[in-house]
Symmetry: none
Subunit: 224 residues, 2 copies
Amino acid sequence: MRSVLLVDDEPQLVRALQINLEAEGYAVTTAADGANALRAAASQPPDVLVLDLGLPDMDGTEVIRRLRTWTELPIIVLSARHGSSDKVEALDAGADDYVTKPFGLDELLARLRAVERRSWPVREAGVVEAGDLQIDLMAATISRAGRRIRLTPREWGVLQLLVENRGRLVSQQQILSEVWGPVYEKETHYLRIYVGQLRRKLEQDPANPRHLITEPGMGYRFEI
Amino acid sequence: MRSVLLVDDEPQLVRALQINLEAEGYAVTTAADGANALRAAASQPPDVLVLDLGLPDMDGTEVIRRLRTWTELPIIVLSARHGSSDKVEALDAGADDYVTKPFGLDELLARLRAVERRSWPVREAGVVEAGDLQIDLMAATISRAGRRIRLTPREWGVLQLLVENRGRLVSQQQILSEVWGPVYEKETHYLRIYVGQLRRKLEQDPANPRHLITEPGMGYRFEI
DNA sequence: CCGAATCTTTACGGGACCCTTACGCCAAAC
DNA sequence: GTTTGGCGTAAGGGTCCCGTAAAGATTCGG
């Protein structure tokens, strides 16, 4: 998540936030009212929109509603009103999260990261590259250094689940339950066999795996 | 809240709900039985799960229990049974809300919005930064100054509990009860061992800890 | 009906982890 | 000064977990 469109009519707050967000590595553009916000969002769609509800020309929820007619761009709402009805209204209009003023920079950054994580699975579909491996989750194919590798159904089932949760720890129970079925949750020896086979096919040095990592006592993890 | 996984074995109801939910802006995927529901929830985690209790292959509460072993995904239960014992059982298994058939679309949409608002703070629990430490509670990873640290299951169990309650005091009894089990509430020497090991791995100066703080006679606290 | 690929089962060696025991330190109470 | 309780550290043994090999069972296509 790189670019943020910041919409607020208080110049000082905008300037302060812009400096701090840019220091965190975000590219920040700004708008001071709803009309300019809509224009900016359409001409240069940001990765996330931070929107104050109190704008001079139109209600913030109205801005959200218009945006939602054509985009699913994540929207974080800033509101000075503490009443929950405003928040509900904004969320129902299509906002993704809200922050009540006054707020700390830390809180806004946390919300940005949260929205970022949530939008991650959206672009999850496609080819995953890990070292010399190319894994296409949709096509169910995998290549190593350009060469196609053949996997058996079970092998693919295990690898697919791990790659879909790449970076995250996946418990042995979860793998067994998803690939073999809930009845097999206890049969951890199956996993040892298939993880070993996968490593022999995927890893350069199966004895020192770099992608298919064991977390002793907890589960397995696919590292890119 | 974008995506909903809809689990029911009545095709007409599923089709009707899917059309209506998609008209409301949700991305809807469906499953007709428990096994497929678990597989779908694992491979493409939705933002919320709508689950009928009467499934052909397994009890709905069993589906909830299995999901709850690895995810806190919000779950709304549908049930044709009016008895309150079913409701209690499902909620105890880990469901978030409950709708009795027959129900109106408006009611389900209201529950979805309610669960959505409630679940946001939970999702915020992502990456916690503390000094040169980066702790990802979801992925079960921890880095210090960019370098990955390996923790054993017990070490991770203790750290996870403390980080989830960061800033707050956690009693020794609570840690022992959560990580080792209620029987071990008195075995405080376990804690001394593992707190020591954690400090050696996490703290710059294990003798003068800055994150893993002892509150003599009370418990431990994780400070950011 | 046969054969090959895949899945399951069994067995075993090595290593990591957990628990246990023992001891040193510090501070507060007597 | 001595004692006592709580906390931290070190080391060793036993147990569980993981990786590997190999053979039997099952499935599937020809």
